[in-house]
């Protein structure tokens, strides 16, 4: 009887593969997936794209980027206006931020500390977050760009000294420690809604940092309350924020849910029509593109009620769920590429499903770097090593790599600066970034390695390529580069280690060749070229210049370029820096990756952003269309069940027959 019941349940009631509750069917819910859970949601620490999935939506910033305009343009969000730099007599530069009136945090139990369920956002909350970035105990990865703020480093060292000297001080709540240590002198709170940031020297890029969650307002109550003790989560797992969405459920390993935050200024005060709270005017787009957005212009954000994130560990099942309509958007996995993309566009099959493909070059660069501290490939070898690097650069065939491993996606890189960033030059062809084996062999011979053979040992030159991945698939990818160099007669050995071991090697300087990448934080060439300055060298300051490239001319040009506004003068400096890199070859620039994003017909307003910036508040879904297409695409296939029952019956029936026969 029970079997019959179970069968009828399978065939009748539960006959759907919908992973979501039915009551959500008509709602404006966005369904998305994530692969790796965020490491931390602390806005002062979170720096990877996995973390930004959450922090970018819940933490609101003073400034943000215009959703549609390219090149990128800053617009005011929590601030009333984008501040202008004010030169001061003592050589410093000040930026004065004025907050909108009547900004509130989301409701949260932590505000019981100040006697309420929420409270207004004050200028003090921004100063508090900047102090947190400076605080050595927080371990923020972005201390460097802010250390130009007057008194920033002083504050950090005062705090450290007081903590070391007086254990009782270290046990005080963090905000009281900061108050007693005296704050950062260059962050002047001028009132409830006004504060000023004073920079020692000019650094125009600082404004971009105010468009990132690092500088969001953080209430001191949240830090004091969410200490990870007494059953309360840690602040890194429980954001208290002011953005358009708030995190209402956070099962890191399985799913998280973001819901509209009723306290967000866009929802509290729709009559303001603030630039960050309404869909922007469409400018500079093709007419058919512009038409897609026409109905939305001027409407208050956000359109979505809720965002549901589910964890998907394996790419293929995740993509299948997307094809069934249970995720609203997806990237293109390599295995399905030929099914989805044909002749550089969506395949017929996908187009029939109403899908849309957005292609965009990511403002990022991947490169093979040489450790310039190494005696063989580095600066100690002088002219000889330079020619070796040039020769190796000439042997690397990126087009072929793209074809084999990236389905032809991506743009071969000629310089560190990706398209969409000032200083990128489409016309520029790096003379060392195309394949020319004859020239490479000539250079190699001049470097003292004719045919790759080291004249001293009479053996092929032996180099080591350190890779932070031990998986069998990655071995194929990296051995592709090795085979390129073997064509020159250079014997490059692959040393595959785990990521931690690799970082250890990098710390110890025990590496020759490595592969790495950099994704833009903000749209400025400074953010790419600083990766090659002496100041940032791994062996000098532990910075991200892993190639340890050090060049006086380059540093001088960089210092000049950094403070200039984008214009012909700046372009000239970037070109000069580019030609130094062209000759010195600390990097073999590989490619700028290209993103293919698939969206279903019911998802609206998706514009590729490139930079890791929050865009979800602009998205909209059409739940009716989604429900209809989902049920069309997921017609239950019943015959295997009947076949199974038939087979089972065929197996059991003879047994039953025999049983009754024998009994008689």
């Amino acid at each position: 009887m029970r079997v019959v019941l179970a069968v009828s349940l399978v065939l009748g009631v539960a006959c759907t593969n919908n992973p979501y509750p039915e009551k959500d069917d008509g709602k404006k819910v966005l369904y998305a997936q994530y692969h790796e859970p965020p490491k931390t949601l602390d806005p002062a620490v979170a720096y990877s794209t996995n973390d930004h999935v959450v922090t970018g939506k819940v933490y609101d910033t003073l400034l943000e980027y215009h959703y549609l305009k390219r090149p990128y343009e800053l617009i005011p969000a929590l601030a009333e206006a984008v501040p202008e730099p004010q030169e001061r007599a003592d050589g410093s530069t000040a930026y004065r931020f004025v907050l909108r009136e009547d900004l509130w945090f989301q409701e949260d139990p932590c505000f019981s500390l100040s006697g309420g369920e929420t409270r207004r956002i004050l200028a003090q909350d921004f100063a508090f977050e900047l102090m947190r970035i400076a605080d050595p105990a927080v371990n923020s990865p972005v201390i460097d760009p802010f250390s130009n703020v007057r008194g920033f480093r002083d504050f950090a060292s005062r705090l450290k000294e007081r903590r070391a000297a007086d254990p009782a001080f270290g046990r005080l709540p963090v905000h009281e420690q900061y108050r007693e240590a005296g704050g950062i002198s260059g962050v002047e709170v001028l009132g409830e809604r006004e504060f000023e940031v004073v920079l020692e020297t000019s650094y125009p890029q600082i404004l971009y940092w105010f468009a990132m969650p690092f500088t969001t307002p953080v209430p001191w109550e949240a830090i004091a309350y969410y200490d990870g003790q007494g059953g309360r989560p840690a602040f890194a797992d429980h954001p208290v924020a002011s953005g358009p969405f708030m995190l209402t459920r956070y099962d890191k390993q399985a799913r998280f849910v973001l819901e509209r935050n009723p306290n967000w200024y866009g929802l509290r005060r729709p009559e303001w029509k603030a630039p960050g709270a309404v869909f922007p005017e469409v400018t500079g787009l093709a007419p058919e593109e512009a038409e897609k957005f026409a109905a939305y212009v001027g409407k208050p954000l956000p359109f979505l009620e809720r965002v549901e994130y589910r964890r998907e560990k394996e790419p293929i099942p995740a993509f299948t769920k997307f094809l069934q309509g249970y995720y609203d958007s997806a990237g293109v996995v390599r295995e399905s590429f030929n099914k989805v993309i044909q002749e550089n566009d969506l395949s017929e099959e996908m187009r029939a499903m109403g899908m849309d493909l957005e292609r965009s070059v990511v403002p990022a660069v991947f490169y093979i770097g040489f450790n310039m501290d190494d005696p063989v490939v580095g600066r100690a070898g002088g002219e000889r090593s330079r020619k070796l690097r040039q020769a190796m650069s000439l042997a690397v065939d990126v087009e072929e790599y793209k074809r084999l491993f990236m389905n032809g996606r991506g743009l071969p890189a000629q310089s560190p600066i990706p398209p969409g960033i000032f200083g990128h030059d489409e016309e520029y062809q790096n003379p060392y970034r195309r394949v020319d084996l004859q020239r490479a062999q000539k250079l190699l011979a001049e470097a003292g390695y004719p045919g790759g053979v080291d004249e001293r040992t009479k053996r092929p030159l032996r180099l080591t390529f350190d890779v932070p991945d031990t998986s069998p698939e990655s071995r194929l990818r990296f051995s592709f580069w090795v085979r390129q160099w073997r064509r020159l007669g250079i014997d490059v050995e692959l040393a595959a280690t785990t990521y931690n071991k690799f970082q250890e090697k990098v710390r110890d300087g025990a590496y020759q060749i490595f592969q790495w990448g950099w994704v833009a934080d903000y749209p400025d060439p400074e953010n790419f070229l600083f990766l090659l300055t002496t100041e940032m060298a791994r062996s000098v300051s532990g910075g991200p210049n892993t190639a340890n490239f050090q060049d006086k001319d380059f540093d001088r040009l960089f210092a000049e370029m950094k403070v200039l506004p984008s214009g012909p003068e700046r372009q000239r400096l970037v070109e000069q820096m580019r030609s130094i890199l062209e000759r010195e070859r600390p990097w073999i620039e590989l490619f700028h990756p290209e993103d293919y994003a698939l969206t279903h017909a019911w998802l609206r307003n998706v514009v590729p952003a490139g930079l890791s910036i929050p865009t979800t508040k602009y998205f909209d879904v059409d739940p009716e269309l989604r429900a209809r297409l989902r049920s069309e695409w997921n017609e239950p296939v019943l015959w295997p069940i009947f076949l199974l029952f038939g087979l089972a019956a065929a197996v059991i029936a003879p047994g039953i027959v025999t049983f009754y026969k024998e009994r008689q």
């Binding site: 390599r334 399905s336 074809r403 084999l404 790759g452 069998p472 698939e473 071995r475 073997r486």
Partner: protein, 358 residues
């Protein structure tokens, strides 16, 4: 004044690294062949063993021939020397120790995937350099899959053989001393065995390989350390039985030393177990290596690695099936042959199965 001899007269004693590698490989092959010859000679002298192997041959002709083929391919890949003869893949190869197999397949590389016996590339339809010359197609880097598969034979036999050579003497030593001497030694060995047996072997393997670093030898050592327990238990029990045999008692009462008793009376009577265990363990070890490769800590060039590299290719559309199929069939063929032979050996050698069959 006596002129100093010109440099050319100084004999070149220092060997380059690849030459050394080639020599080592060839020495190992030589030693193995000599060992095999000696083993065959002593088997031919001994009636019991000769009869046993004759029976196995009679019952398992095909598997023995297949195993022989695998061994032959592995030998082809083990006899190496330095020097350019014939075509070269690239300039580095001229300075490397290359085996007979490497030399047979020199210059067969394409640009990327091609299906078996294809005339053009799989994805972009450009013409191949060697059309119809790849019976098993080529992989993503354009390497001939037949070549990669044949190279895997050496790795598999090396892993199976070397690990058995580590594990079996270890197990025999501990098992026999525990079984023969009993008491404290038995307690200690048993404790050791139980401790090892109670640890999840895959975790222990990973930990050992991570600690020793990734190399063929360390994988073999790790596999050896984790796989000796079962045979140790078996040999201990068998020794306890043999210890109470009349001829052992007689030897002891005549004043023969313990070491001599163990070597003359106990160990020779365990040899049939050694042979059976060796063959059966062999296939298990090759499979374990495939699992390790899947986890990214296996031996380079093994079939397990080929399968792990190709796992996503099957779900491509259209699917790349030849990589995973070639490695899978090669692995399957070796394991089946070895298991069939092992089965027959057990039937012939193990007194228990003899008794059962009457």
């Amino acid at each position: 004044m006596i002129p100093s001899p010109p440099l050319a007269f100084v004999p070149q004693l220092a060997m380059t690294e690849p030459a050394r590698a080639a020599l080592t490989s060839n020495l190992i092959v030589g030693a193995l062949l000599v060992g095999l010859a000696l083993a065959i000679r002593s088997i031919r002298k001994d009636d019991v063993w000769r009869e046993a192997f004759q029976q196995v041959w009679a019952r398992r002709k095909v598997p023995v021939v297949i195993l022989g083929l695998y061994v032959f391919v592995a030998l082809l890949d083990s006899v190496t020397w330095v020097g350019a003869s014939g075509a070269l893949e690239d300039q580095v190869a001229a300075h490397e120790a290359r085996s007979v197999l490497d030399r047979m397949f020199t210059g067969t590389t394409e640009k990327s995937y091609s299906a078996p016996f294809a005339t053009q590339e799989f994805y972009d339809a450009s013409a191949l350099r060697h059309p119809r010359r790849h019976p098993l197609g080529t992989n993503i880097l354009g390497q001939d899959v037949l070549y990669m598969t044949l190279k895997g034979a050496r790795v598999a036999l090396l892993i199976g053989g070397l690990t058995s050579l580590i594990a079996i003497p270890l197990a025999l030593f501990f098992g026999v001393s525990a079984g023969y001497f009993g008491r404290r030694i038995d307690d200690v060995v048993f404790f050791l065995m139980n401790t090892l047996a109670s640890m999840p072997s895959i975790l222990l393997l990973i930990a050992l390989i991570m600690a020793m670093g990734r190399s063929t030898l360390s994988v073999c050592v790790a596999l050896g350390v984790t796989s000796w327990v079962a045979f140790c238990r078996l040999s201990r029990g068998e020794t306890m039985k043999l210890r109470e045999m009349d001829y052992v008692h007689a030897a002891r009462s005549l004043g023969v030393s313990n070491v001599r008793i163990v070597l003359r009376h106990i160990v020779p009577n365990l040899m049939h177990l050694v042979v059976i265990t060796f063959v059966l363990m062999f296939s298990g070890l090759v499979l374990s290596e495939a699992v390790l490769s899947w986890l990214g800590i296996g031996v380079d060039g093994s079939w397990g690695q080929m399968i792990a590299q190709a796992k996503d290719e099957l779900s491509r559309e259209p699917a790349i099936w030849w990589n995973v199929t070639a490695a899978g069939v090669a692995l399957f063929g070796l394991l089946l042959a070895v298991n069939l032979i092992g089965d027959a050996l057990r039937d012939v050698l193990d007194p228990r199965t003899l008794r059962e069959r009457g």
